[in-house]
């Protein structure tokens, strides 16, 4: 079971001080948070992708590579990569490159994005959202899995004799998760390929999550990748904790009440009941998180959103310290009663082992004139 954090990289005014960080501060803060995540023993750091203010989440590849250079163990991921509006050729190249630079510490989560104008900004039509996700991902798979690709589709210039470089590290592509809140087609897509399925989970009632995860598990089995309970499931989560429950509620309430996503709407109490948000003591966060299994089954990856809504860096780092304190109990709790046939989330090492060992996938071109391999 992997634990980690995911960030949308929002630049939000701290409602308690009225201060808004600069982009520079926020970008640097994200790096600090990622390094801290490794320090407390988390397994995954993931960053979102947005192409508009108030986010600093454009160009996730630079961010992940930079963090990769300053960390040793933590897996770097996206949450999410916009498979709809990003050229799959660039995704193939960029993430294979990060794979090499970080010795395989990278995977990806595909998403369709939630900002309507991103589609026209990148020359796409939002009504094609699902079809773009399907076609672009099919091409991405081929670019990683086949050395030379001839391809023609609806949404991109055809490719003839194209080789995406570098080839995936050890001949094994990064593991891919597909994220969606309410689109059955995406659960179907994840199941078809035997990829992971990630449900954002936060901001939504548990019923949404359960429905999508159930569908994905059922179809994972249908497509012959294993039994339903062996499907690779990830969940989001959101908490604010202090030693004392009431301190957490008092401190977080102004951030909740003014948060960009749900602020000025339901009360903190109603929202924590309706969604997986937990605001309280470390013990409460521990118990609520362990309860996620009750409706999705034993799963593989748990990511928490902790740096958002204007929370200052200092507070976010304190939250990570508290998460570090309950991490052993989280791991022990999730391991309890977990059947032996339920797999862990795939990693580069496990994928290499499954492929029968590492092999260098470098494609040496042949000189047209001399016929010599160069």
């Amino acid at each position: 079971m992997q634990f980690g954090i995911f960030s949308v990289g929002d630049v939000t005014t701290d409602p308690t001080t009225g201060r808004t960080p600069t982009e520079h501060e926020r970008i640097k803060a994200q790096v600090e948070i990622a390094k801290k995540a490794e320090e407390i023993g988390l397994d995954v750091f993931a960053t979102g992708e947005h192409h508009n203010p108030p986010f600093i989440a454009s160009n996730p590849t630079a961010t992940l590579a930079y963090i990769g250079a300053q960390t040793e163990k933590i897996i770097l991921s996206t949450a999410t990569t916009l498979i709809t509006t990003t050229d799959p050729v660039l995704i193939a190249e960029d993430y294979a490159k990060i794979q090499h630079l970080t010795d395989g510490r990278v995977d990806l989560m595909m998403g369709r994005g939630n900002t309507g104008p991103v589609y026209p900004w990148f020359g796409k039509d939002i009504r094609d959202g699902i079809n773009l996700a399907v076609e672009n991902y099919a091409l991405l798979r081929r670019l990683w899995d086949e050395d030379v690709v001839n391809w023609e589709g609806k949404y991109r210039t055809p490719l003839q004799g194209y080789t995406a470089t570098p080839r995936p590290l050890d001949g094994v592509a990064p593991f891919v998760w597909h994220g969606s809140i309410r689109s059955p087609e995406i659960a179907e897509q994840a199941a078809y390929y035997g990829d992971g399925f990630f449900h954002n989970h936060i901001f939504w009632p548990a019923g949404h999550t359960k429905q999508m995860v159930d569908l994905y598990r059922r179809r994972f089995e249908h497509y012959g990748h294993g039994t339903a309970d062996q499907a690779i499931v990830g969940l989001g989560g959101q908490f604010f904790m202090r030693k004392n429950s009431q301190d957490a509620v008092n401190e977080f309430r102004p951030y909740f009440d003014n948060a960009p996503v749900y602020g000025h709407g339901p009360s903190l109490e109603d929202f924590t009941e309706a969604t997986p948000l937990t605001v309280g003591s470390t013990q409460q966060v521990l118990e609520r998180t362990l309860g996620f299994r009750d409706y999705v089954g034993d799963y593989q990856r748990q990511l928490f959103l902790i740096d958002h809504a204007g929370l200052p860096l200092k507070t976010v780092l304190e939250q990570l310290d508290l998460l570090g304190e309950i991490l052993p109990d989280l791991r022990a709790g999730m391991a309890e009663g977990r059947p032996a046939h339920v797999p862990d989330a795939p990693t580069h090492a496990s994928l290499v082992a499954k492929a029968g060992g590492a092999h260098d996938a470098t494609l040496h071109a042949v000189d047209d004139v001399t016929g010599v391999s160069v």
């Binding site: 059955p184 897509q189 939504w204 749900y262």
Partner: protein, 198 residues
């Protein structure tokens, strides 16, 4: 068993909007052959939940139940007070938060109340286009009741005519529903088809 769902957006108690809704519903029950189950949804108690739904994107509690009730409806009677020359914001918010295909093919009787008869065309310029957009089948006779109509002859016959038309629409061929999200979850489109569609 036919399921008739009555939606009333009246705000005061007692409410002339609810009064009109009840008379329409009684007339419809009489006009429809066979047993009818009537559910009345008052929007006033759902006002906070509706505002929350606008902000969070999902319905909770009694609002979620009300939406499920509408999902199961064979026919609707919808009644709004006239506010600022149109349906009330509360009335519109309810239809803003339901899934857009929920009313496809559903017979809907539209009705409104106001302090003056000068607002009567609200039914034609605001409510009828709204329910046409939602692909509902709107009953030809819409019922408008100004305060003064409650003391005059004529409202009865309009109520009866509209209820009769609703009953006729209900007796026709079963409604053609769009494939719902629930159906897609139960029986997903195979991925090969999605690949071919792309």
């Amino acid at each position: 068993m036919r399921r008739l769902v009555v939606i009333s957006a009246g705000l005061s108690v007692p409410s002339s909007t609810r009064l009109l809704a009840d008379r329409l519903s009684a007339a419809a029950v009489e006009a429809i052959h066979g047993p009818v189950e009537v559910d009345v949804i008052e929007l006033r108690p759902l006002a906070h939940l509706l505002a929350d739904n606008l902000l969070t994107g999902f319905a909770t509690g009694e609002l979620a139940e009300a939406i499920e009730t509408v999902r199961r409806a064979d026919a609707l009677i919808v009644v709004t007070p006239v506010f600022a020359a149109s349906y009330s914001g509360l009335f519109k918010t309810f239809f803003d938060v339901i899934e857009p295909d929920l009313l496809t093919g559903v017979p809907v009787l539209i009705a409104a109340t106001a302090g003056t008869a000068r607002h009567s065309l609200v039914l034609e310029h605001a409510l009828r286009p709204l329910f046409s957009y939602l692909h509902a089948t709107v009953v030809p006779t819409a019922v408008f009741a100004a305060s003064e109509d409650f003391g005059e002859a004529g409202l009865d016959s309009r109520i009866e005519r509209a209820a009769g038309e609703l009953a006729i629409l209900l007796s026709g061929a079963p409604r053609q529903r769009a494939r719902t999200l629930e159906e897609e979850f139960a029986d997903p489109t195979p991925f090969e088809d999605l690949l071919r569609g792309a």
